[in-house]
């Protein structure tokens, strides 16, 4: 017995623990390496272009010629540029109106799709069509719908006797603005509708039964149950929607190229036109950089909207 105990104790002395040994089992060190691929990717493809863009906005770089640092000259130039200010106005109008309508229509559609009805799965799939069609394709379709000569809308209204002459959808500044906004709404609604539908489906049906017994009308159920429970997901989806709309480029470029007379230029399209087509990289970058404060403001608003609400705190075992 005693021999056994002694034998057990007589193991070789433990090797000294080196710094490398400690590093090998350090969770932070390991975590750092796990994080590196993603971080590298982000730095290379997001942070670097962003930094480069901001740097370019402080230079007079042109295509084919490295610029020199000129300070705020580009911004001073833009502050006197009516076209730039119009693009800012257009962008805000475009984002504001389109987002509001997308939200309203999307929410309405989500609630409709959440009802029991025949062919539910098929109808839900159909709703997604505007979202899955390539933007340029749908933009070209709208371009035809809004064509000054062959527009089916003008034709239909003429047949109905409501108008005498074709509507100049994309040729008149305000008509053009409303037309591109309409196209954007059409394209953006499915994303919001489907996301909100997913949110609606997380609301327990028994809450509606309880509310029925509590005496709530359909509107009161929406007002006091559905809407408040949906606010977290509304905050997420509207943040994305606003960001996508604010930075929209494809739809405008395919439909109007910013015309007529810059009336539908958004900051993104104007930036592209000045930087790539015009060759003034510095000025184009300055326009693009000028979008950052607006986007930050939008993110800040949704940041506070996204905060977990008080009722979401606490145990989740319900």
């Amino acid at each position: 017995m005693t021999d056994l105990a002694l034998e057990r104790r007589a193991r070789p002395p433990m090797r000294r623990i080196t710094a490398w040994d400690r590093l090998k089992v350090n969770r932070n060190w390991l975590g750092f390496w796990f994080m590196m691929p993603a971080a590298g990717f982000l730095i290379l493809f997001l942070a670097y272009p962003l930094g480069l863009g901001v740097w370019l906005s402080f230079t007079d770089a042109r295509i084919g010629r490295d610029g020199v640092f000129v300070g705020l000259e580009n911004y001073q130039w833009l502050s006197d540029d009516a076209v730039f200010w119009m693009s800012v106005f257009n962008t805000l109008l475009y984002t504001g109106v389109a987002s509001a309508f997308k939200f309203a229509v999307g929410l309405y559609l989500a609630i409709l799709l959440n009802q029991h009805m025949p062919f539910k799965a098929m109808i839900r799939a159909v709703v997604l069509i505007p979202f899955i069609v390539p933007t340029v394709l749908s933009a070209i379709a709208f371009w035809w719908l809004f064509d000054s000569q062959f527009s089916i809308i003008s034709w239909s209204l003429r047949q109905l006797g409501l108008i005498d002459a074709n509507i100049n959808f994309l040729g008149d500044p305000w008509n053009a603005r409303w037309s591109v906004i309409f196209a954007n709404i059409w394209r953006g609604v499915p994303f919001i509708a489907i996301t909100l539908l997913a949110g609606l489906q997380t609301v327990s049906p028994s809450l509606y039964e309880a509310a029925t017994i509590d005496g709530a009308s359909r509107w009161q159920m929406f007002r006091y149950i559905t809407y408040p429970l949906l606010t977290p997901i509304i905050a997420v989806v509207m943040t994305f929607s606003v960001l996508f709309t604010f930075t929209d480029f494809q739809l405008i470029w395919a439909m109007t190229r910013g015309g007529p007379v810059n009336a539908t230029h958004l900051m993104a399209t104007l930036s592209y036109q000045r930087a790539i087509l015009g060759g003034y990289l510095g000025e184009g970058s300055a326009i693009a950089t000028a979008m950052i404060p607006f986007l930050l403001a939008a993110i800040m608003i949704s940041w506070f909207g996204l905060q977990r609400r008080k009722w979401q705190h606490g145990e989740a075992n319900d």
């Binding site: 017994i213 006091y224 429970l229 979401q312 319900d318």
Partner: protein
């Protein structure tokens, strides 16, 4: 407060009929428990009273009023759901006051009524909390508070305790019963747990496959089950059933499986050799020299009593003893049912054979 009358009620979902003509009379202030295995239609019936399901045929009255086509909010009922269905974004106070708010009651009235209900349920310290911050039992109480605040004619409970752990369930059982004794509101309570039914009900309605098997006071059902289903459903551990024949010759007795002879006290208007089922509750066995031979399989002491699983004539039976006998698996004992307390059921109809 009001009585509830259910007359010949039928419910069908499409072509599938799930409730086949149910008649129940619930007196004013009575605590009625609908009990039965899952799928027996008890919850559907409750939801029909609430107005959450429409009534395919028949009639439901609350008080004197036929409510078949009355929307839920005008039925003056309150319901407690199995998952409580508390509004997660409202505080306890707002949850409880929601129905009053919808009715447009003045703020002060809502506040006093919520406070009164919260006092009854001991929820005063939690009024400003959200459901997520409460324990299961507290949520359960809030759900009841929501019902109390409305001061309805009828309370409906849909398996309210099945999400709670065993200990809390027992405590809440008592609380609900006390609440009923205090408020005396007509209550319809659905559960699948026969112990809940036995302990809480003034009247139990045992349902099975969409029909009422039996209805009556708890001990009535326990002492005189109408049929095999009720006999097997009420009581825990369940009643033992032994199939065999009635023998009249040479002293009244029952011939069970393997020729075991079991005592009978009264002749149930039955002829010699009539096939029947012999039912005996586990606690109605005694050890006696003239009992049936039994071999012990398993011994389960619970502290207050000893449960014994034994084989009688090849059939397993359960016997319960309050005395602390020294039993071991494999022991042979002699089990004698108390002939005054045995039940006889017709085979194959399962109806009670009464003397």
């Amino acid at each position: 407060m009001a009585s509830v009358t259910i007359r010949d009620v039928v419910k069908a979902f499409g072509a599938t009929q799930v409730i086949h003509g149910v008649d129940i009379e619930i007196a004013d202030g009575e605590f009625v428990v609908l009990v039965g295995p899952s799928g027996c239609g008890k919850s559907t019936l409750l939801r029909m009273i609430a107005g959450l399901e429409n009534i395919t045929a028949g009639e439901i009255r609350i008080g004197e009023r036929v409510v078949n086509n009355v929307p839920p909010k005008e039925r003056d009922i309150a319901m407690v759901f199995q998952n409580y269905a508390l509004y997660p974004h409202m505080t306890v106070a707002a949850n409880m006051g929601f129905s009053l708010k919808l009715r447009g009651a003045p703020k002060s009235e809502i506040e006093t009524r919520v406070r009164r209900a919260a006092e009854i349920l001991g929820l005063i310290p939690y009024l400003e909390r959200y459901p997520r911050q409460l324990s299961g039992g507290q949520r359960q109480r809030v759900a009841m508070g929501r019902a109390i605040v409305r001061d309805p004619q009828v309370f409906l409970f849909d398996e309210p305790l099945s999400n709670l752990d065993a200990k809390l369930r027992v405590a809440m059982r008592t609380e609900i019963k006390e609440l009923h004794q205090r408020l005396k509101t007509t209550t319809v309570y659905v559960t699948h747990d026969q112990i809940e039914a036995m302990t809480m009900a003034d009247k139990i309605v045992v349902m099975h496959d969409g029909i009422v098997e039996q209805m009556g006071r708890p001990l009535e059902l326990y002492d005189r089950p109408d049929n095999l289903f009720v006999a097997g459903f009420i009581g825990s551990p369940a009643m033992n059933f032994l199939k065999g024949h009635i023998r009249g010759n040479g002293g009244l007795a029952f011939e069970g499986p393997g020729g075991v002879r079991l005592p009978l006290a009264v002749a149930p208007g039955a002829s010699e050799g009539r096939p029947a089922v012999y039912g005996v509750r586990p606690e109605h066995f005694a050890l006696a020299d003239d009992g049936a031979d039994a071999e012990i399989q398993v011994v389960e002491p619970t502290g207050s009593e000893i449960q014994v699983v034994a084989k009688v004539g090849g059939e397993e039976v359960i016997a319960v003893f309050r005395e602390r006998h020294q039993f071991n698996p494999g022991d042979r004992i002699r089990l004698k049912p108390d002939p005054r307390l045995v039940h006889l059921f017709d085979e194959p109809s399962g109806k009670r054979l009464s003397a």
